[in-house]
């Protein structure tokens, strides 16, 4: 198990390095000169040259990459071209907001979706199942921003029960979280249902009934326990997706999270910000995959033991 974890971590680090090179190189290929964007036309060429040197833009790509990585290892993501603030400080303020938003949304989603998916699978073809499937089909078809806007109009503008935008109180999180949940829940329900249906067809479920277990025990101890392995994988795999979904939601509700920072960074060609954001997203993805692999190994003895030893 320990060897396995070490192996997965080194693979993860390798992946992060590759991604960082790609991110760095790709932004360099973006059209337009960031210095021209940040300065006025009146600014003289000398000053511009000065700025280029300050941002290391005069150096060749590979040297800039090395500098960037070195700085990053010292917790320095460079300075925003637009605001001149250190990117690291901005990130420190904004990443927690995004994580809070997305993790809350994911948890709420799971708590609602897993029982519904389980029940829909168990009562397959019942009225309950059909209603759930039809409604979820509808929600997979509508985009999250549409739901967000509808929620805003309904609860904030018309009923005035919830704040329209911002992030200062927990109440402010209700609509953004709800929008994220509603847009993601349909696919989670469907996936849970599919997985539970698969498990329900397993022979060991018949064994569980045959030895005399009650329906509820069979469902919880044997069906859900096994289906949860996939649900866990799903959960961690979807963290990066939900974060990308949060980009739009943050913009709609003007929540100053990383998503908003990323979009404005792209619009302003503020390359240090874009680099930092994409890089953080990449790391998050890798970390989630890693957690996912380890948890699966813990939950599934077939994997755990094939990895050698139980501890």
């Amino acid at each position: 198990m320990r060897d396995y974890v070490i192996k997965r971590i080194s693979q993860g680090i390798l992946l992060v390095i590759v991604v960082s090179i790609l991110v760095f190189a790709m932004l360099d290929l973006m059209p337009g000169d960031p210095i021209n964007i940040m300065t006025d036309r009146k600014v003289s060429e000398e000053v511009k040259e000065q700025l280029r040197i300050e941002y290391h833009l005069n150096l060749p790509l590979h040297q800039r990459y090395v500098i960037w990585v070195k700085d990053m290892l010292h917790g320095n993501f460079g300075k925003s071209i637009k605001s001149k603030l250190p990117v690291m400080d901005m990130m420190k303020a904004r990443l927690p907001v995004t994580l809070k938003l997305t993790l809350t949304a994911l948890l709420v989603e799971l708590v609602i979706a897993v029982p519904i998916g389980l029940l829909a699978a168990y009562k397959k073809d019942s009225i309950f199942d059909r209603i759930v499937m039809d409604v979820s089909l509808f929600f997979t078809a509508v985009p999250s921003y549409w739901i967000a806007v509808v929620f805003m109009l309904l609860f904030a503008v018309k009923l005035r029960v919830l704040p329209l935008s911002g992030f200062s109180t927990p109440l402010h999180y209700v609509l953004p979280v709800a929008s994220l949940v509603v847009s993601g829940i349909a696919s989670t329900i469907r996936m849970t249902k599919t997985e539970v249906l698969d498990v329900l067809r397993e022979k060991y479920v018949l064994t569980a009934y045959a030895k005399g277990l009650k329906k509820k025990s069979v469902l919880v101890k044997h069906v859900l326990r096994n289906a949860l392995i996939l649900v866990t994988i799903m959960f961690f795999m979807s963290v990066p997706w939900v974060i990308s979904g949060a980009v739009i939601i943050e913009n709609i509700f003007t929540i100053p999270g990383m998503g908003q920072m990323l979009t404005s960074g792209i619009l302003n060609q503020d390359f240090p910000i874009v680099q930092a954001c994409v890089f953080i997203l990449a790391i998050l993805t890798v970390v989630c995959n890693l957690i996912c692999d380890i948890i699966t190994a813990v939950l599934d003895p077939r994997i755990r033991i094939s990895l050698g030893g139980e501890n």
Binding site: Y204, L206, T207, K211, G212, K221, H222
Partner: protein, 319 residues
């Protein structure tokens, strides 16, 4: 004093499928006496597992339509509620399935899965553990203290099936249904596992409904044999009687083909054709298209079950 533990009467099971209803079991009647072993044999697809699952009221697809009655210890299992059926399963009727790897939950230790059954009877964790170790000893699993901690995939097929036997006899049921318990096992292991099962059942005084392709097994441990074809029981009687004097053309073909029956496939090489899937019940003999004695009567009317001796049932126009 009634000595019959299970009496199946005119059982029919149809599965709802896209094309309509598939008649998997039709008008099957038999009974099992206390402590006795009835073997059900027939090619794959004859409806043997369906009979077994229907008695236990187990279903994967929930697409069956059931007719007839199943009397177990006086109560009709087709009529009782699901809650009452939960009390019958495991406690009064145990069941072993064909593939011992699929039959155990891969994420739990084998011993804890047996203990789970015992805990239903109110045993404490500790008592259950002791009893599981004893059961493992009874089914001759070496090092029971260690093996109870093993996960199913760490055990061989034979060991897993022993765990199943331990689990299903743990609560002292009066009837054990064994659906091809050794088909997936090596020939050498097969005999051991069967002997263990038989010994355990004898010790418990449990009756057995044994589904198998293997006539060697039947000869060794069964008291009676029922031969199924295309969802119908075509002949039923005492094992020695039927082995000596098979009356139904299908039974005769089966026994004549004896050395040629492939264990894994359960098909019979010497009879042309395959088991038909009956989508529409028609007045005909279901064996007519493969039967050497078939004539017009056979194609246009269904033979009824009749007794050619007080204890020997056959379903054929010509006998």
């Amino acid at each position: 004093m009634e000595d019959t533990i299970l009496r199946v009467e005119h059982l029919s099971v149809d599965y709802k499928i896209k094309a309509g209803y598939l008649s998997a079991v039709n008008d099957v009647s038999f009974s099992i006496d206390r402590g006795k072993v009835l073997a059900l044999v027939g090619e794959s697809g004859c409806g043997k597992s369906t009979v077994a699952h229907t008695i236990m009221r187990l279903s994967i697809d929930h697409n069956e339509r059931i007719g007839g009655n199943i009397f177990f210890e006086g109560q009709d299992l087709t009529k009782i509620s699901e809650a009452e059926m939960e009390k019958v399963r495991g406690k009064h009727i145990g069941m072993i399935f064909q593939n011992p790897l699929d039959s155990l939950n891969p994420v739990y230790r084998s011993g804890s899965q047996v203990a789970e059954a015992l805990r239903l009877d109110g045993l404490s964790k500790h008592e259950a553990r002791e009893r599981v170790i004893q059961l493992y000893r009874d089914v001759q699993i070496p090092n029971p203290e260690e093996r109870i901690e093993a996960f199913p995939h760490e055990l061989s097929g034979g060991m897993r099936q022993r765990v199943m036997i331990a689990m299903m006899l743990a609560r002292h049921p009066q009837l054990l249904i064994a659906d091809e318990p050794t088909t997936a096992l090596d020939v050498t292991v097969e005999a051991q596992v069967l002997n263990i099962m038989k010994e355990m059942c004898d010790k418990e005084g449990a009756s057995v409904l044994l589904i198998t392709h293997n006539f060697g097994i039947v000869a060794e441990i069964a008291d009676r044999i029922g031969i199924m074809y295309a969802g119908e029981l075509v002949e039923e009687g005492e094992v020695h009687e039927i082995f000596r004097n098979p009356v139904h053309p299908y039974s005769q073909a089966l026994l004549a083909a004896l050395p040629k029956i492939k264990k894994s496939e359960g098909t019979i090489q010497t009879i042309e054709g395959t088991v038909p899937r009956i989508l529409e019940k028609k007045p005909e003999c279901r064996f007519a298209n493969r039967c050497p004695y078939a004539d017009e009567t056979c194609r246009f009317s269904s033979p009824e079950a009749k007794f050619i001796a007080p204890d020997h049932m056959v379903r054929c126009h010509k006998r």
